[in-house]
């Protein structure tokens, strides 16, 4: 159902293209089958910081998104991961035109939607729909499910004539796995997972080509998450949808995405196919992020090298100069302070065929495997011995000198 193979091949092709020095065209596209339907170029969103109530003075700007570029192909899933405050939700809002970008372009089939208004904008919006994080606050409690899912038809009556709407809504309920007879119920009569299905049905109502999903499962219980993830997977196959899937949970993003972009402080620091990002990450932030994710396997405690980052994400109102990650990076040198690293295939990997050759915004990019290869963790029985740990890269690495030895699982034996 996903164009996995061709996607990877395309990615390599794209990597070749990326050797061209120009910065804009190598936003890491892996168009499975020609033209991307969505091209995002140098997207910027700055929020003014003001002081004073009567006379407002601007005292600074919060650089929520500061130059983000990527492509999305039809039927593809692009995952965007990052910690809170990295700007991933702001990107989502700009894609569906809930926020107007400060600069940059969002091209839907070649047309820049940030400049559209009126009827033309309305037509484009029909094709890019959103699913929100919180199924409790994103549904109006005073409207019935039928009214919620049918509301898009009020705005776009050409999609469904009045007489047909009720039937259409019932079809949609059926598609997302809810009983069509629930059409007259209110949101509070449903559980979290069911509400998220209602939100998804609303997103599907206008037959969009792109769905922007901002943390669609993070508010749900573990046993319900899988149901909704599977539903999203199935709908993609059924309707040929393209997803921009935004989440902080790296495991879910890997599961659902064809390509993944990693954001840090308003920028994409690394982007590539799921295999490139998860198995061959070259940016230190991606590596730290991946190594910090707890793997649900106690045998992995002893196998995994953990990179413990020091400190918190700096404020986007006052981001560090040069590379924004340098204040938490163990590789940072003077160059990182002076020179902004471009998102491109790092020079060392340009001539290799290796999957490490994908866009990564680091002056000192090097490949490092932090997620144990598949199968290693499946090993039944006790831990496979200390020697292997040593060979695999030694005990956990501590980035912050004063933190002392960071405890890894292996020290817990007693």
């Amino acid at each position: 159902m996903h164009a996995d193979h061709s996607g990877r091949e395309e990615a390599r092709e794209e990597g070749e293209k990326a050797r061209a020095p120009l910065a804009t065209s190598r936003a890491g596209s892996a168009a499975a089958g020609g033209e991307p339907i969505l091209e995002v170029r140098d997207l910027v969103k700055h929020y003014p910081l003001t002081q004073g109530i009567v006379i407002k003075k601007q005292i600074g700007t919060v650089k929520a998104v500061d130059g983000v570029s990527f492509d999305l192909a039809a039927g593809e899933t692009l995952g965007i991961v990052g910690e809170s405050g990295c700007g991933k939700s702001t990107v989502a809002k700009m894609l569906v035109h809930l926020e107007q970008p400060t600069a940059g372009a969002i091209k839907y089939k070649g047309e820049d939607i940030t400049r559209l208004s009126g009827r033309a904008l309305k037509a484009v919006r029909r094709n890019i729909q959103m699913v929100f994080q919180d199924p409790y606050t994103s549904l109006n409690p005073r409207m019935t499910v039928g009214d919620i899912i049918g509301e898009p038809y009020e705005i776009h009556p050409e999609v469904a004539p009045k007489g047909e709407r009720r039937r259409k809504v019932q079809d949609l309920l059926d598609v997302v796995g809810l009983n069509p007879e629930y059409i007259n119920r209110y949101p509070h009569q449903f559980s979290g997972g069911q509400r998220q299905r209602i939100g998804i049905a609303r997103g599907l109502a206008l037959n969009p080509e792109i769905i922007v999903a901002d943390e669609p499962v993070s508010a749900l219980d573990v046993s319900v998450q899988a149901q909704v993830v599977n539903l999203l997977d199935r709908l993609q196959a059924e309707f040929g949808l393209a997803y921009v899937f935004i989440a902080h949970d790296l495991s879910i993003v890997r599961h659902i995405s064809d390509r993944v972009g990693v954001m840090y402080l308003g920028r994409i620091v690394e982007i590539g196919s799921d295999e490139q990002i998860y198995e061959h990450p070259t940016h230190p932030y991606t590596q730290a992020l991946l190594s910090a994710v707890p793997v649900p396997d106690p045998a992995a405690r002893e196998h995994r090298e953990r990179i413990i980052l020091h400190g918190d994400v700096p404020s986007p109102a006052n981001p560090p100069s040069g590379c924004r990650f340098r204040t938490r990076c163990w590789k940072a040198q003077e160059r990182c302070e002076l020179e902004v690293p471009l998102l491109a295939v790092p020079a060392v990997f340009r001539l290799t065929e290796s999957p490490a050759g994908h866009d990564s915004a680091c002056h000192f990019a090097e490949e490092k495997q932090v997620v144990p290869p598949e199968g290693l963790l499946e090993m039944p029985g006790e831990t496979a011995g200390e020697t292997e740990t040593e060979a695999e890269g030694g005990p956990s690495q501590d980035v912050d000198g004063e933190n002392g030895p960071a405890p890894s699982g292996s020290t817990r034996a007693g």
Binding site: E83, G193, S251, R254, V295, I308
Partner: protein
């Protein structure tokens, strides 16, 4: 044994009826041991912990029966002020949401120092020095300068460190951490979990970690108790439960989470929804969602079967669950 919960029952009397939040829970923690209590929302994992701490809202809550033995003494039979002495000194709790658990109008130094003033009778001046020492210990940079800051001036990770500092202040022998890292980003979560594990080792404390995250559990726990609808459905040492779960619910949970090291196709999904505590299904509470359910599961509540040494499962078909891998 440091703490032993025996056949604990907690119910909430609401307008719609009696919600049976905890229905006969047994677990124990030894010194230096980490017990993870795993469950979804509404499984009763937090309510059990609140009953142990003695911070349950009563009413509407009501302890319907059971014993909570702390160092051999039943907490439920103690007088109020006796319990208050134990709380804070001997057992402490870390909450999920540090911002709403800390007092916004007191500086963190005052809140940390208060522990020493109240329980140890220190002067405010000495208590402030102690507060700085504690903040240093949980690795808050520039502790001396920041001791006068208010909670809102700290980031989420730093606030959680302050919560940990406060819990550790009087070096208790038991810490209960209720989803301590759920609100944090992964990189910060790793910092905080490491800190917690390190301090636990140092002070040889018992730790009850309440969470819904199977990943966090695998990283730090010694043993697990899986809760569903107010009951423990499976308990086991951590390695064994991940290798071969003996309850269909645990098994379903483990199979339903996407993994970082695998590009899966379709996820296994447990069908249905967690039960409403006002109407817990008769028999095994998991039976409407269980792929193995038989007639017997709908009739009688399954007891805890001994699967192996230190391993129990509340499933009539634990053997089949274990074997069918």
């Amino acid at each position: 044994m440091l703490l032993e919960v025996r056949d604990l029952h907690v119910e909430f009397h609401t307008r719609e009826g009696v919600a049976k939040a905890v229905n006969g829970v047994n677990y124990s923690v030894a010194e230096g041991e980490t017990l993870a209590v795993l469950g979804e929302s509404g499984s009763g994992k937090s309510v059990t912990a609140q009953a142990v701490m003695g911070i349950l809202d009563m009413p509407p809550g009501k302890i319907g029966g059971g014993e909570i033995l702390f160092k051999g003494r039943d907490l439920l039979k103690m007088k109020k002020d006796e319990r208050r002495k134990i709380r804070g000194q001997e057992m402490a709790m870390i909450f999920q949401d540090a911002l709403s658990s800390l007092n916004p109008v007191l500086s963190v130094g005052e809140q940390l120092g208060e522990m020493f003033v109240v329980h140890r009778g220190m002067s405010h001046k000495d208590a402030k020095l102690k507060a700085v020492e504690l903040m240093d210990r949980v690795r808050i940079p520039a502790a001396k300068e920041r001791v006068g800051n208010y909670p809102h001036q700290f980031s989420g990770g730093m606030r959680q460190r302050i919560m940990i500092a406060m819990a550790m202040a009087l070096e208790p022998s038991l810490i209960i951490a209720d989803e301590p890292t759920t609100a944090l980003d992964v990189t910060v979560q790793a910092q905080v979990m490491d800190l917690l594990a390190e301090l636990q080792r140092e002070l040889n404390m018992g730790l009850i970690l309440i969470t819904h995250d199977l990943g966090v559990v695998a990283d730090v726990a010694d043993k697990i108790a899986v809760m569903y609808a107010g009951r423990i459905v499976e308990s086991a040492p951590v390695h064994e439960i991940y290798r071969a779960p003996a309850h269909p619910y645990t098994k379903g949970l483990l199979r339903s989470i996407p993994r970082l090291d695998q590009k899966g196709r379709e996820l296994y999904a447990i069908k249905g929804l967690p039960p409403n505590l006002l109407h817990i299904p008769p028999g095994c509470a998991f039976n409407p969602r269980c792929p193995m359910a038989q007639e017997i599961c709908r009739g009688e509540v399954p007891p805890l079967f001994e699967v192996a040494e230190h391993r129990e499962s509340a499933c009539y078909f634990w053997k089949e669950t274990l074997d069918a891998r």
